[in-house]
């Protein structure tokens, strides 16, 4: 766990006034606020950092503790205990301990450094610390499936906050695609509607096929002699092997489309994309004496 220089995070001097801190924080918040930076994890991280720095530096008690221990934060609690014990020996009733509690409903993530020094999260964003919500919080979940899993509709049961949610994932869902399950987020406040559950799919592809939407792509090797003379090759598709005719004089890099042999189209039952094959002519590396002599004979014919 590393020490975080909150002054550096906000770009202010150690002598900065509350007003300077507020200003610096607002400047960063306008830059990194999640509502202004959709799907930007880096901005989200920066925002959380700025938020945490503000949480500490804008609170006189927290700032005092942070300034007092600084780099020695790991010993802060020991110092606090020793200080309390000294104070109790001298004067009874002087209570110098701090107590912090996590605010329920706060969706702010605080660093381990913050947690270890201050115990729990604060109120989160907002000048007055008042964050009223009416609609319940949206939940985000990730679900990992393999490419073959999503070739057919998938019935899954998810457990979110103790509740089981049954859902059928349509075939053909894409990697990174997010679906919304309405009303399965956090409960609303003061009669407000519940939030939604967003599930983002991570589709792991262990196959030899590359996927772009419903189309699949694959490179297949064609033996040199077959590419020159023509013939038949066997190709593996997602649903089994197919035989293909290779025309005589097939060039390296030739593309062939197998209609309807691709991936199911999302929410279009019975419709499939195409499979695109790229032929890679395989040049033999190890020749027998006989094969070598045949190639040499070919060479003598001035074959171009």
């Amino acid at each position: 766990m590393e020490f975080i220089d909150y002054y550096k995070v906000l770009g202010v001097d150690k002598k900065a006034s509350t007003e300077d801190i507020k200003k610096a924080y607002r400047k960063l918040a306008r830059k990194y606020h999640p509502d202004l930076n959709p799907n930007d994890k880096e901005a989200e991280m920066n925002f959380k950092r700025a938020n945490e720095a503000n949480e500490v530096l804008s609170d006189p008690e927290k700032r005092k503790k942070y300034d007092e221990y600084g780099q020695d934060w790991q010993h802060a609690e020991e110092f606090e205990r020793a200080k309390r014990s000294r104070a109790q020996q001298g004067r009874q009733g002087d209570r110098s301990g701090y107590t912090y509690s996590r605010t329920s409903g706060s969706d702010q993530d605080f660093s381990d450094f913050f947690e270890s020094m201050f115990g729990g999260g604060g109120q989160g964003f907002g000048a007055g610390g008042q964050r009223v919500r009416f609609r319940g919080q949206d939940y985000n979940a990730q679900l990992q499936l393999s490419l073959m899993d999503v070739y057919t509709p998938q019935k899954q049961t998810l457990t979110v906050n103790g509740k089981n949610i049954r859902l059928t994932i349509p075939a053909g869902i894409e990697d990174g695609q997010t679906i919304k399950i309405k009303g399965h987020g956090g409960p609303g406040i003061e009669g407000g509607p519940a939030g939604d559950l967003y599930i983002t799919f991570s589709i792991v592809n262990h196959t030899a096929f590359k996927r772009d939407g419903a189309n699949l792509y694959k490179t297949v090797e064609v033996p040199l002699v077959k590419a020159v003379l023509g013939g038949e090759i066997q190709v593996e598709t997602l649903t089994g092997k197919v035989k293909l005719k290779v025309a005589a004089g097939t060039d390296n890099g030739t593309k062939v489309k197998l209609k309807g042999k691709g991936f199911p189209k999302y929410k279009k039952e019975g419709q499939f994309g195409d499979l695109y094959l790229t032929y890679q002519v395989k040049i033999p590396k190890q020749l027998t004496q006989e094969q070598r002599e045949l190639f040499e004979s070919l060479e003598k014919t001035n074959l171009v």
Partner: protein, 96 residues
């Protein structure tokens, strides 16, 4: 649409600590749709996430409705560009 599918502007503003004029301005700028009835004005529940986002921008970042309108349009463009980039990346991977 049932009554439950609407949120009263008054209730929303009270809970979020914004003036009703804020919501009316957003409506004027065609960011959200508000229905003006004889008794009260209300908006469809589907608009709630967007409304709450606009309130956050207003309350937390002190952005006025004019700024929010500009942000709303720019965010729409950012999101559509992000989708385009993601789709082009996938295509590039598939062809690469």
């Amino acid at each position: 649409m049932k009554q439950d599918n609407y949120i009263s502007v008054k209730t929303f503003c009270k809970l979020h600590g914004v003036g009703e004029s804020f919501v009316h301005t957003l409506c004027e700028y065609e960011i959200v749709q508000v229905e003006y009835g004889q008794e009260e004005s209300r908006f469809p529940i589907e608009e709630l996430p967007l409304m709450e986002k606009m309130v956050r921008l207003h309350n937390e970042l002190e952005i006025n409705p004019e700024g929010i309108q500009a942000i709303y349009h720019l965010l729409g463009q950012v999101e559509s560009l992000q989708q385009e980039v993601a789709s082009l990346k996938k295509r590039l991977e598939a062809l690469g």
